[in-house]
Amino acid sequence: MRAFFGYWRGIASGFMTTLVGMVAAIRHVGRKEYTLEYPERRDVLPPRARMSLFMNPDECIACAQCARACPVNCITVASVKRPKDEEPPLTVVGQRKKVLVLTEYKIDMGRCCFCGLCVEPCPTHSLYMTPYFEMAVVQKAAEPDEILHEGESFAAADARRTRSEIQVQHPRFGRTGLVYDFLAITDDLRNRGEAVPLNPLFPEEHAQLIKNRVQPPNQNTTSTADPPGGPS
């Protein structure tokens, strides 16, 4: 007897399930879509967003804390001592004396894991993460001698290979290699008359640093074109 009722109950439950499910689904039809129509619309990233790194050499004291903190060893810092008779200038942030002269500052973006551990120890806020993430570019494939040879260890291949001088077009820094050479990048920006990107965590502080510069453009660019569906 119970089987008899169970049979009809099964049919009824199957029917109601379909009906309830269909009604639950159709309720969503009129709602506003959740899609963000990239690239016509972009989200404005929060200040802490960890995208590409930038280093302002004017403020750097070459302490190499960032290189020490990095878990993947992608930062190269080289400096020389300032000649003894020269008075070391002070940084704006932290009023630190620039005793060392920075000669090389490179970050290998191929290795960077965007963890942000390097930004924390910087005493002068000269290394910071900017909200620029559209760094992808179409380029030709790797050169044959950059690829691992048969039987070769990774360390040997690494030593053999020059860190590739592939040209990429950064949305803010201009043409650069996969290894960001920040001395060259900032020279480039200066020659083009563009301001360095602001530090999103300390925007007012950094605005003071930028003297006699062109007004920096918006960090997150939004185009004026509408997405295909029309203005939303």
């Binding site: 499910g21 802490r48 963890c115």
Partner: protein, 371 residues
């Protein structure tokens, strides 16, 4: 004369239609019936444990993100608690509360991902998109607080990387308010669907003794009726002072030991995590989360093993320190690794469609299986 039949060996290869990661299953089938399914792992092995011996303790934290990449906050939590126990650091209340908020939000996000990909495996494509919309809100919250959407690197030894941003609490509240209604809609569509119940009830039964014998943990263990949750039974951080229920398979839940029980346990855990986040948000004491943070960590000689509750189960961190800034041994006891060990045992004499459902219900992440 008996007919000659062949068993077919099918390779459910490292590339899956469903988002489980790079897992290879060698499935032997006799027509429709699966006779054996052997998983092969190792496609995502990145030598984390060996490499961690060359890193300082703070540098290991971004690497722990990448173990179970769907619940980075919980991995960070486990590691950081282990180091703090080794060093005897006491973390301030504010940092503990925020840690729990982030860990529970990440649990919600991970379980949403589970529901989405599980329903996709079963053929219902809509819950995937609905769950991802809610998960997107959580990821936006995380991006605002930590700076990244998936691999957060937010916890530090002794505290957090940064405090909450102003206004984030309202955002979390408004998300939670909307979210509960969305989960009820999902229940209408998926949880109480007769076809879902028919597909999942009785499939992949793991009895209680087998669950304990194979070292299962987390929702898989609880679905089989074992009432064990690291947050309640071996409390760490402030979990001892928080009120929450632990959903366990059985009469009250409505299912025991099968795929449906595992699904229901995770679904109920979402509700519990929402309540936990609300409790923690209700009063966060003022304080400085960066006060106790130690960057140059030099723990005393010794070893520690700490287990915390990951969305997938119990993640254990074993650390052995020789007094220097770098650990001499790091070992991770990954929950998905042990959960996966039972898979070949319960995949005997089932249909292929059932095998897919079971694989989905185990909810593995290859990042932590392979490390």
């Amino acid at each position: 004369m008996p007919l000659k039949t062949e068993e077919m060996i099918l390779n459910v290869g490292p590339q899956h239609p469903s988002t489980h990661g790079v897992l290879r299953l060698e499935v032997t089938t006799d027509g429709e019936l699966v006779t054996s399914a052997e998983p092969t792992i190792g496609y995502l092995h990145r030598c984390f444990e060996k490499y961690a011996e060359t890193l300082t303790y703070q540098q290991i934290i971004p690497y722990t993100d990448r173990l179970d990449y769907l619940s980075s906050m919980n991995n960070n939590f486990g590691f950081v608690v282990a180091v703090e126990k080794l060093m005897g650091i006491h973390v301030c209340e504010r940092a503990e509360r925020i840690r729990v908020i982030m860990a529970e939000l990440n649990r919600i996000a991970s379980h949403l991902m589970f529901i989405g990909s599980f329903s996709n495996d079963l053929g219902a494509m809509t819950p995937f998109l609905w769950c991802f919309r809610d998960r997107e809100e959580i990821l936006k919250i995380f991006e605002e607080v930590s700076g990244a959407r998936l691999l957060y690197n937010y916890y530090r030894i002794g505290g957090l990387a940064a405090d909450l941003t102003p206004g984030i609490e309202e955002k979390i509240y408004s998300f939670l308010n909307q979210f509960e209604a969305h989960m009820l809609e999902l229940d209408d569509l998926f949880t109480r669907n007769a076809i879902v119940i028919a597909r999942l009830k009785g499939v992949g039964m793991i009895p209680r003794e087998m669950a304990i014998a194979y070292g299962l943990s987390g929702p898989m263990l609880r679905a089989s009726g074992v009432d064990w949750d690291c947050r309640r039974d071996e409390p760490y951080s402030i979990y001892a002072s928080l009120r929450f229920e632990v959903p366990v398979g059985g009469e009250k839940l409505g299912a025991l030991g099968d795929c449906y029980a595992r699904y229901l346990v995770r679904r109920a855990e979402i509700d519990q995590s929402v309540s936990l986040v609300r409790q923690c948000l209700a009063d966060i004491p003022p304080g400085d989360v960066k006060e106790q943070v130690k960057r140059n960590v030099r723990p005393p000689v010794g070893e520690v093993y700490v287990r915390t509750e990951n969305p997938r189960g119990e993640i254990g961190f074993y650390l052995r320190s020789d007094g220097s800034t770098k650990p001499s041994r790091v070992k991770v006891r990954a929950p998905s690794f042990c959960n996966m060990s039972v898979f070949s045992r319960i995949s005997k004499d089932i249909l292929v469609a059932d095998m897919i459902a079971i694989l989905g219900s185990v909810d593995i992440v290859l990042g932590e299986i392979d490390r």
